[in-house]
């Protein structure tokens, strides 16, 4: 007989006045190649229909299923139970507002981040339907894509010491986003423009270098390199700004 897995799952429905935050225990028999995606769906369909959690693509591409798995933020869809002990504790991601049980509201947080970072190409060029596309070096395109691979699961923010201490910290995800536009030749913003956005404690100078963002990133993005790169760049911009005054 295969293992009996014990799940300790955080429960709370804020809209239900009778609901109190607590942990519930569920037991499930482990099957071959079992993932948390399958396990949680099984629990909901067979044991407790009210259990809330988020999955979308269930293939590690969309980032919907970030949660704290035995103390560590990660994607539940590609977490196999065989890599975990027989007792599994699941908690919602911190920092984000709780919707219920394991489900959190990442959408609002990220939408605000796009507006803060003005996460779009700033250009005065007007698109001409009849012209060829502007040429770009393939290597530049690939470098942009490497930073564009972020799936906004929120794991890096949840694992970040600074983000846990101060609500206004933008987090590695926002700084990575700035890095993506900084290297894109189509974006006409200057380093000073970027400095206006991230040249402070909410941005690049708030990072304490604890490295957890990169440790938990399910896409293995080079977040620390990116932060180091931006810190140098913004540091130099800061000095230039001082001398210009």
């Amino acid at each position: 007989m295969s293992r009996l897995l014990k799940f300790n799952i955080f429960r709370y429905t804020p809209q239900d006045e009778a609901s109190v935050p607590h942990m519930d225990e569920f037991v499930l028999e482990e099957t071959e190649a079992l993932t948390l995606f399958i396990a949680l769906n099984r629990i909901r369909e067979e044991q407790d229909a009210s259990l809330q959690f988020d999955f979308c693509c269930r293939a590690g591409i969309c980032g919907a299923c970030g949660m704290v798995i035995n103390g560590r933020p990660g994607l539940a869809c590609h977490t196999k139970t065989r890599d975990l002990p027989g007792e599994i504790t699941l908690l919602p991601l911190p920092v984000f507002k709780l919707v219920g049980d394991l489900s959190v509201d990442t959408g609002t947080w990220f939408r605000e981040m796009y507006h803060k970072t003005e996460s779009w190409i700033h250009t005065t060029k007007v698109f001409d339907e009849n012209a060829l596309e502007d040429r770009m070096d393939n290597e530049v395109a690939e470098n942009i894509y490497e930073l564009d691979r972020c799936i906004e699961c929120g794991c890096c923010v949840s694992a970040c010491g600074t983000a846990r201490l101060r609500e206004d910290f933008m987090g590695a995800v926002a700084l990575n986003r700035i890095g993506r536009f900084l290297i894109d030749p189509r974006d006409q913003r200057t380093e000073r423009d970027y400095y206006e956005i991230i040249g402070n404690d909410e941005g690049i100078f708030g990072c304490m270098g604890l490295l957890a963002c990169e440790d938990v990133c399910p896409k293995h993005l080079p977040l620390q390199n990116q932060l180091g790169f931006l810190r140098r760049k913004m540091g130099i911009t800061a000095i230039k700004t001082l001398f210009r005054k």
């Binding site: 429905t13 804020p14 809209q15 239900d16 071959e32 190649a33 993932t35 995606f37 399958i38 909901r44 369909e45 229909a49 009210s50 259990l51 809330q52 988020d54 979308c56 693509c57 269930r58 293939a59 590690g60 591409i61 969309c62 980032g63 919907a64 869809c77 590609h78 196999k80 065989r82 890599d83 919707v99 219920g100 489900s103 959408g107 990220f110 939408r111 796009y114 996460s119 779009w120 190409i121 698109f127 339907e129 012209a131 060829l132 596309e133 502007d134 040429r135 770009m136 070096d137 393939n138 530049v140 395109a141 690939e142 894509y145 564009d148 691979r149 799936i151 906004e152 894109d184 974006d187």
Partner: protein, 614 residues
């Protein structure tokens, strides 16, 4: 009752919806997208391969143009498509790719000089032209005469969706995420918006709009095994078919992909077989070459899926706790090839299955992949039957795919159709005055409130949401799968009708408070069973084989009797079957029906004088 007014309301914030929203917003209209998930989680993000557009920049795409793209698309559809729409699509696709480049998509670009590529496991050399350096490049895909697929590494959908969502944020398109439309508001002539349910709080919100668009993606989740995201459950379709007025087109046209992994049905690319991977049975023996001596594993998607299913039926499937499956073997391709050219497959295997494909076999089975059917629209994207209602993308039957979709054409369709239909919506807004009838708005809201109260109180019965849903999925899986027969489809329709009766007596196990997932599933269940019946009943009546629709008892494509599109209506909510009507597949015929050039098939020509009734 919270009421939100907007000019344009889009159900869905994937690529088709957001692309259309940009047109509306930049024309000065207030625009809101409703989405079940944050916009960037939409299933558009999962598309990896790329987008078809006849740019002809790469040397292997040399000479490509909209004409060639059009021809491939019509052939691919097995002549089931609307050729006017396929023409519109092919002409517009290159412009749309350039527009995306302008907005920030990091398309892979032409690198001049010599490079190598693989075909059928062999290595070849190509030379890219100096004068095309830095233009958008393309890769190979099935069913196309030229290399035509524009791509961003292995994350095309992700990169394009992030860019388009950025542009939405820039132009003030609001995305109300974790919000699900549960009913359209209409007076039988005009659509006025929707009643939606917040998936944060459970509250009902009324959205009033001059134009409403359905861009909610596919509905593969009515099948038990699908490559679709869990949100692709057809909830917006169910709101549309509830109107009784708007038909669904070609619901029986369902595409299956040969290699979904077991158990989670995540897709592993056709490239595995393209590069020389083989399919093995329970005895770890090849079988495809016995069925298709020439093409073996490299036959078309439909053909391979059919034979795999047949082989498992014959008892050669591998038993597992998730049902029968077969093996995909890529071990002989070697570590370098697998971790290089098939990196994504390697990551899926190690990450999701805990299997190392360099040394181990990959469990696979044919899996529901794409819905060619959907909300029937005209070439402007306007839904049949209701003014002010539009649809685009996989949710729609616009119908450039007919009975079989070519790879890379669906992702391109999202932005091309989104752009075209978005501009048509703007035209509609400028020429139309909409008068809202508050009584109808109040009545629709009250009816939805009542539905929820009935489900929570269990007034109509105590059937389990999840059990009924599973029975619907199993019935479709059994009867309306890759192989279809009269007997199997009759049984499927019969079973689904019993399931429909049970779906009408569902009661919740929980109190339904807050964002209750059980309530969300219950609200769409009856509509899903009706859609399943549209698939099965449409397939039962279509006595021919065309594209993905394969009738074992009618193996020929029958252009004489069936060069038509099925329109499925659910006229009365209490009906037990959809009402089917037919219309010509295309009004304009640039390319008369002929041989597709792949997959052996008998054709009953439309010239055959012994036509059926009239």
């Amino acid at each position: 009752m919270q009421t939100i007014y907007t000019d344009v309301l889009v159900i869905g914030a994937g690529l088709a919806g957001e692309r259309a929203a940009i047109e509306a917003a930049t024309a000065g209209h207030s625009t809101i997208c409703l989405s079940i998930v944050p916009a960037r989680r939409s299933h558009s993000s999962a598309a990896q391969g790329g987008m078809q557009a006849g740019l002809g920049n790469s040397c292997m795409g040399d000479g490509d143009c909209p004409d060639v793209h059009f021809e491939d698309t019509v052939k691919g559809s097995d002549w089931g498509c609307d050729q006017e729409v396929a023409r519109l699509f092919a002409e517009r696709a290159p412009i749309e790719m350039r527009q995306l480049a302008h907005w920030g998509v990091p398309w892979n670009r032409v690198v001049p000089g010599k490079s190598t590529y693989f075909k059928g496991g062999q290595q070849f050399e190509k030379v890219e032209k100096e004068e095309n350096a830095g233009l958008i490049t393309s890769r190979a895909f099935g069913g196309t005469a030229k290399w035509r697929t524009c791509y961003v590494s292995d994350g095309t959908g992700h990169a394009v969706l992030f860019t388009v969502d950025n542009v939405c944020a820039q132009h003030g398109v609001e995305v109300h995420d974790k919000t699900e439309a549960i009913s359209l508001i209409h007076d039988g002539e005009t659509c006025f918006g929707v009643v939606a349910r917040s998936l944060r709080t459970g509250e009902l919100i009324t959205y009033i709009a001059k134009a409403t668009m359905v861009a909610s993606g596919g509905f593969g989740r009515i099948y038990p095994n699908t490559t679709n995201a869990v949100i692709c459950d057809g909830s917006a379709h169910t709101a549309v078919l509830d109107t009784g007025i708007v038909p669904m087109g070609n619901m029986e046209a369902v595409q299956f992909h040969p290699t979904g992994i077991v158990p989670t049905d995540i897709l592993v690319t056709e490239g595995c077989r393209g590069d020389g991977g083989t399919l093995l049975d329970v005895n770890e023996e090849r079988f495809m070459h016995t069925y298709e001596p020439e093409k073996a594993e490299l036959a078309s998607r439909d053909v391979v899926s059919r034979w795999m299913t047949h082989h498992m039926r014959e008892g050669f499937g591998v038993k597992s706790s998730y049902g029968d499956h077969l093996w995909l073997d890529i071990r002989h391709l070697g570590e370098k090839h697998i971790t290089g050219k098939l990196r994504e497959v390697y990551e899926i295997c190690t990450g999701f299955l805990g299997i190392d494909p360099i040394h181990q076999l990959i469990p696979v089975r044919p899996t529901q992949h794409y819905s060619m059917g959907g909300v029937r629209t005209n070439k402007d994207g306007a839904a049949y039957g209701l003014k002010g209602l539009f649809a685009a993308g996989e949710a729609a039957c616009w119908d450039m795919h007919g009975f079989n979709r070519l790879g890379g054409n669906s992702l391109a369709e999202t932005v091309v159709a989104g752009g075209i239909v978005g501009r048509k919506i703007v035209e509609y807004m400028e020429g139309t005055e909409v008068l809202f009838n508050s009584r109808i708005i109040d009545e629709t809201y009250a009816a939805q409130k009542q539905r929820i109260d009935d489900l929570v109180s269990g007034r109509k019965g105590t059937e389990s949401v999840y059990k009924v849903r599973a029975d619907m999925q199993q019935a479709l899986h059994k009867g309306a799968n890759i192989f279809r027969t009269q007997e199997g489809l009759e049984e499927c329709v019969d079973t689904l009708q019993k399931v429909l009766e049970r779906a009408r007596t569902v009661g919740l196990r929980t109190n339904g408070k807050g964002a209750s997932p059980e309530l969300a599933a219950a609200l769409k269940l009856e509509g899903q069973v009706k859609m399943a019946l549209m698939v099965a009943y449409g397939a039962l009546k279509r006595t021919e084989s065309r594209g993905s629709h394969n009738r074992e008892d009618f193996p020929a494509r029958n252009d004489r009797d069936w060069l038509v599109r099925t329109l499925a209506y659910w006229k009365n909510p209490d009906d037990m079957l959809p009402t089917l009507q037919y219309e010509p597949a295309t009004q304009v015929t640039e390319i008369p029906p002929g041989d597709r050039g792949y997959g052996k098939m008998a054709v009953i020509s439309s010239d055959d004088s012994k036509g059926k009734e009239g």
